[in-house]
């Protein structure tokens, strides 16, 4: 059974940044290279690793069965996927003789727009469930109206992308740009997880990992910022 919701989300997640790239050109690539040319490889590597990680954690016996791995709808682990995409991009940058952090910083705003696009399509998946609210959506089978938390995530991440883009134009260091992007996405996911319905007590795996990544990335950005200030003062 094909997960049409995920398929639609992926198409929107690639399509919107491909359009935005028209106004936000990438400086670390040849101008003839389009966003989709750049993004497809790392994204599919991320999907593969994120999927395998989810299976390893939730259903290890499915690993090895291609049909099970492709068909089962048990999700993709987000941060292992992001780490994989980052590793692929770093390898590509080294091959092209470009500082890896500079390339990550160059791609960060468009990647954030892509993630915002993915979340904006939450209505096609099960990602729009939020707290009960007087305004919002009524998912199938639910009488109450629920706040479409995925749309708020999309708006927050898109606003973060604009902020990172502005920081880049203001001449911020590439490491700070990449770190700011990670802090924004992880922070939004961590905060949104508070309102996402879940079964059982305690925090979900998504919630815990997003908190961990946001704290680590924030510490990294703060450290880099302090070092750069110290260097400037001296």
């Amino acid at each position: 059974m094909i997960d049409f919701g995920l398929l639609v989300s992926m198409i929107v997640g690639f399509g919107i940044p491909a359009l935005v790239a028209r106004w936000w050109p990438l400086s670390s690539y040849d101008e003839r290279v389009g966003f989709l040319d750049i993004a497809i490889g790392p994204a599919f590597a991320a999907l593969a690793v994120g999927r395998l990680t989810a299976l390893a954690l939730d259903d290890p016996s499915s690993i090895g069965s291609i049909s099970d791995m492709l068909i089962i709808r048990s999700g993709v682990e987000f941060w292992p996927g992001v780490a994989t995409a980052t590793a692929v991009l770093v390898a590509g940058a080294q091959r092209d003789g470009i500082p890896p952090v500079a390339r990550l910083a160059d791609l960060a705003p468009l990647a954030m727009i892509g993630y915002a696009g993915y979340e904006s399509a939450c209505v096609f998946r099960d990602g729009c469930f939020g707290p009960h609210s007087a305004i919002g959506l009524s998912p199938p089978g639910v009488d109450a109206t629920m706040l479409p938390i995925g749309w708020f995530m999309a708006i927050a991440v898109a606003a973060g992308a604009v902020g990172v883009r502005r920081l880049a134009r203001a001449g911020a260091a590439p490491a700070i740009l990449a770190g700011a992007a990670a802090v924004t996405v992880a922070g939004v996911r961590a905060v949104a997880s508070i309102w996402l319905p879940h079964v059982g007590e305690g925090l979900t795996r998504q919630h815990v990992t997003s908190i961990g990544v946001s704290v680590a990335a924030a510490a990294l950005v703060a450290g880099l910022f302090l070092v750069s200030r110290h260097s400037t003062i001296r």
Partner: protein, 185 residues
Amino acid sequence: MPETDSARRPFAPRNLVLTVVVIVGALWVGFGALRQPALPDFEAAGEPAPLPAEGLFPSVSRSEFEQILVGQRGQPVVVNVWASWCAPCRTEMPLLQEAADTYAGRAVVLGIASNDDPQVAQQFLTDLGLTYPNVFDLSGEIRVALGLTVYPTTYVFGPDGAVRARVNGGISEQRLAGLIEDALQ
């Protein structure tokens, strides 16, 4: 060979139109996917019967299944139809166990193995360590009554016994929690 205009400019009008067409097509497919599967014309009737005791895995007829549902009136019942050969079923059943534990006393999770071998299905439950109630649809009449089209399928019955929702295929944690919480309101 000279480069074409579109090769030099990745976002030439032709590529832009293609991107827009792809997005519109995706939205169209997506809205089709949003349609909720039809709820079955099914209403349980009969004398109330209890859930099977823990560790038991009885074969039941349609009328016995309906009696079990009648016996649970007053609280939501999540009915999950599964089979041991169905990989998505295996993936979601630990989630259903967690839901059964979390909502114990407020909602019920009831599994129905169908189109399967009883011994294999029993072993499947044992291997996964599942303790929520499960029954076996030996004749297949329960899955016919519920209008089953795909494995797994999850139905949510409200406290009044009416079918409130149906989820074809694997169910996500968010959706399961959302449906149960809403049925508890």
